[in-house]
Symmetry: C2
Subunit: 217 residues, 2 copies
Amino acid sequence: MADGAAGPAPGPAPGPAPRRRRTAPDGAKGRARRRDVIAAATELYGEVGYRSASLREVAARAGLSHPGLLHHFGTKEALLLAVLEQRDEDDTVAFVEGRRGVAALAGMVDIVERNTHRPAIVELFCVLSAEATAPDHPAHDWFRRRYETVLAFAADAYRAAAEDGHLRAGVEPEDAARRLVALMDGLQVQFLYDRAGTDMVARLRDELRAELTVPLP
Amino acid sequence: MADGAAGPAPGPAPGPAPRRRRTAPDGAKGRARRRDVIAAATELYGEVGYRSASLREVAARAGLSHPGLLHHFGTKEALLLAVLEQRDEDDTVAFVEGRRGVAALAGMVDIVERNTHRPAIVELFCVLSAEATAPDHPAHDWFRRRYETVLAFAADAYRAAAEDGHLRAGVEPEDAARRLVALMDGLQVQFLYDRAGTDMVARLRDELRAELTVPLP
DNA sequence: CCTACCGATCGGTAGG
DNA sequence: CCTACCGATCGGTAGG
């Protein structure tokens, strides 16, 4: 993961020295600035999406001018990709952590549990993943790949659970993966409209209890 | 339903005759115009959301100028509410149709089946429902109520199924309703990223097969 | 990293 | 229902 969401990207092209680096290794101060800007963008993208979020508003929340922001990220699109890259890094740690079968499925529930207390992340994914269904959206390919990756991870987990004799007869790993991921996404929407009334973790555990022959840890 | 999504609305206020009606009863020609504009807006909102959709682009697709559009709808927000009202009318017919229990659940699957062939509607709901999670979004209350209504409808259906002896032991109607609606929403997102690989109807039937003691019609 | 500016586009109005 | 226009805001650049 942490690939950076491909796309041809206009690129530096041959010519004089590149005027602007897209990942400024300015040292500690620059890295802290970038971190603050990415945090502000994550928040605002979750509130109004990428398209409606202005560089000026992101910059103001991070405490600098919008040309100052562009000094660090180059273009609006590069900022979006930086936000997504950051998400990749954070999640990969929680995700890939060598778990398999039922433990891997429990790990997915853990991520949802964690997100219950980080609504900004829930908003970010909910709003961006919907906005980016448009094929020309700059995050479209990133989300398409993300779904491929997550669905494959879940299907592997179900397959391993079956090998361990922990999956009920008739539960197809690939179909169950589609349902589980859909359930996670749909519960996030309900959660954002009614936080008190939507127990995402409990509903996921309902689903897994019906599919598995062993209780979740 | 078909309430029009409340909100205080600046309103006409006392004073001289209102200069502009928000629902122009211009006769057949006006009604046809309004229909075309609503269709164009439905399409564009599904592509880029409400906030990023310009009145000029909607108007161009409907074949009139943007002040022409505003003659019919008054404000950008009024156009959005007209689109949602139209959705209410269309769905109420398919929905409330006096079915109960397992037949009502089957009716929800039928709606998804129908939407498989109307991707513009899927996009509209997917994109708008995510965008409108922001509390200050003009469609926020409409979606909040819609979820309440749909969740209550599904819970009623599960309860009736239980009365009929068609629900497996241990399936809680309200929890199952949350899961079913989440599944519908989440599958729509997967569908928009991978139409060929996402069989929404089959995955919903998987879920209902695990919950019911009788097969779906 | 700032101020100042650019051309483009936005929702809405004037006036007919 | 149109043309023409308004003030505001957009992403990005110049220049320092």
